[in-house]
Symmetry: C2
């Protein structure tokens, strides 16, 4: 299980390796949301998402002789790139199992970062089985994307930074909206806030139709999505909350929030115009919730974790075409 001590140790290992992302704000966004909005732009993290933190945490925690044999990961793209870069910086091999329908830019970038990409069919094959088989065959260590204590510890460093930076901005009470797939980022942040900012309440955000975490939190038990793909928020589509992450989320998080694909795209256009950052749809759902679900949020200020920015130029242009004039 991930402890606060593990998160703080991960922060120590990540020091000088990860970007300490600032908190950004804009009076224009405050006006739309009806409260202060503070955005933690993890799209500026190495490889374009928070995933580098967890990947570095896990790879750097391995015993040297184990690490030397290499690592393997399965991922729709962001975890893949995080593990590929963390492995490359450690000088070890990284095999990455990716769905064949992952965004091209993520597949290409994973390869360019030194990852050996193995594609699979999301509808017919199990990435977990493929990962386990390759790991056994080649002596690689599997780095799970979220159900892995050292990965959760790495993502939790976002929470340590939020606790400090929000206090500096005068915010010690309010909701922290977090883009959520399997729950690694949300559970890590929740553990860090529990210790360092107990009046900041973590709340997972998801796309409508893929709101397994929201429904699981409401039901008090793990609930699955009916579909596994078919939404532009590819980065955060997971079948269900993790077995390790869900108990943490259930204990520490407020209710989940869900937004539409169009709301995610509008949030991308507003982040472009008002924060000058690039978000991918899955990285924009928490901002979308802050802006377009104000009645579901408590407090004078809301903190948003914008989790990633690995988006094809074509899809980004579409968001600007459709919503760029509204900003």
């Amino acid at each position: 299980m991930t402890s606060l001590a593990m998160i703080e140790a991960a922060a120590h290992r990540l020091s000088g390796q990860a970007v300490r992302t600032p908190l950004l704000s804009s009076p224009f966004l405050d006006r739309i949301a009806g409260r202060r909005v503070l955005v933690k732009p993890e799209c500026l993290q190495h490889t374009g998402s928070f995933k580098f933190r967890g990947a570095w945490s896990a790879v750097s925690a391995l015993a040297p002789e184990v690490r030397a044999r290499g690592v393997i990961a399965y991922s729709s793209g962001n975890h893949a790139q995080g593990v590929a870069l963390a492995a490359a910086r450690h000088g070890i091999a990284a095999v990455i199992v990716m769905p064949s329908d992952a965004p091209e830019v993520k597949i290409a970038n994973t390869r360019a970062l030194g990852g050996e990409v193995v594609l699979y069919d999301r509808a017919r094959e199990s990435r977990e089985e493929i990962g386990a088989a390759l790991a056994a065959e080649r002596g690689l260590t599997l780095i799970r994307p979220y159900d892995e204590p050292q990965v959760i510890a790495g993502q939790g460093t976002v929470g340590l930074e939020i606790a400090e930076q929000a206090a500096e901005a005068g915010v010690t009470r309010g909701d922290v909206l977090i883009c959520c797939g399997g729950g690694g980022l949300s559970s890590g942040i929740a553990l860090a806030l529990e210790a360092h900012a107990p009046d900041l309440r973590p709340r997972p955000c998801e796309p409508e139709g893929f709101d397994d975490v929201k429904r699981s939190l409401a039901a008090g038990q793990i609930s699955r999505n009916t579909a596994e793909s078919g939404n532009i928020c590819d980065a955060i589509l997971t079948p269900q909350p993790g077995e390790i992450t869900f108990p943490i989320l259930h204990r520490l998080c407020g209710p989940g929030l869900a937004v539409t694909e169009d709301e995610a795209m509008r949030a991308m256009a507003l982040a472009f115009a008002r924060l000058r950052i690039v978000l991918e749809p899955g990285g924009a759902v928490a901002l979308a919730a802050a802006l377009f679900r104000p009645e579901e949020i408590d407090g004078d200020a809301v903190i948003v974790v914008a989790s990633g920015g690995n988006v094809d130029a074509g899809l980004f242009r579409t968001a600007l075409d459709r919503f760029g004039a509204e900003t």
Copy 2:
């Protein structure tokens, strides 16, 4: 004249007001440039450019009874927004004199930030004369965009941060490429680096055809541009280096660099894909120089100040259309 003590005092006044922007990097940009590239993204600063620093520095340095009468500024857009927000946060009036051909987004944002916008014809009228007349008539204090010691001191805080952050990244020697208009940012950074990182060499970057600073540095005396507009890098088109800034630039800077409009647009597309930040053309010229003029740069690492990101969605889409596939 701006002194190091003034820059440090400005840093103190800006603490908690300005974003401490991180240094960003990408192995993909390193590969193109042939050396490490560390980017200081001032597009993430409040109002979308470094100009907020100088504006806050100048407004906060005024005597309270003088400040209470309000301020006036002339600007193509970024200084305008910086002064408007700094004034609004101080609860005072800000009159902003802007060219009628400034980007719409900058005019609209300046108004939305509380600025009272006065438009003028760039080809027929002098913004300096309009500013001086309005200042006298209404008792406003003129906040010059660059030839103003407290503005230079505010911009110099970027240099203080670079000195610290570059050292943390292991870089104490190399070129610092800076997008340059009138020279306020470049001269402020140069003064800060002279004291805190003397082996980091500031180098102004401009668009070809509007490289008055580059030519002035080469000639050892102030040289004017022949045209005053007609380039997409609107944020950094100034007729000539400032009377106050030029002697500082001449004493402390290495040779200037100049890039084409297409190179600035390519740098915008690469910053989108590799750093997930939004740059305007004028804010991208230093990155363009780092990527496309490697033979004019010294050292194993180069630092880039990406100065602003206030760009219309249409122009940004054009950059992605033309150069988004090359990334």
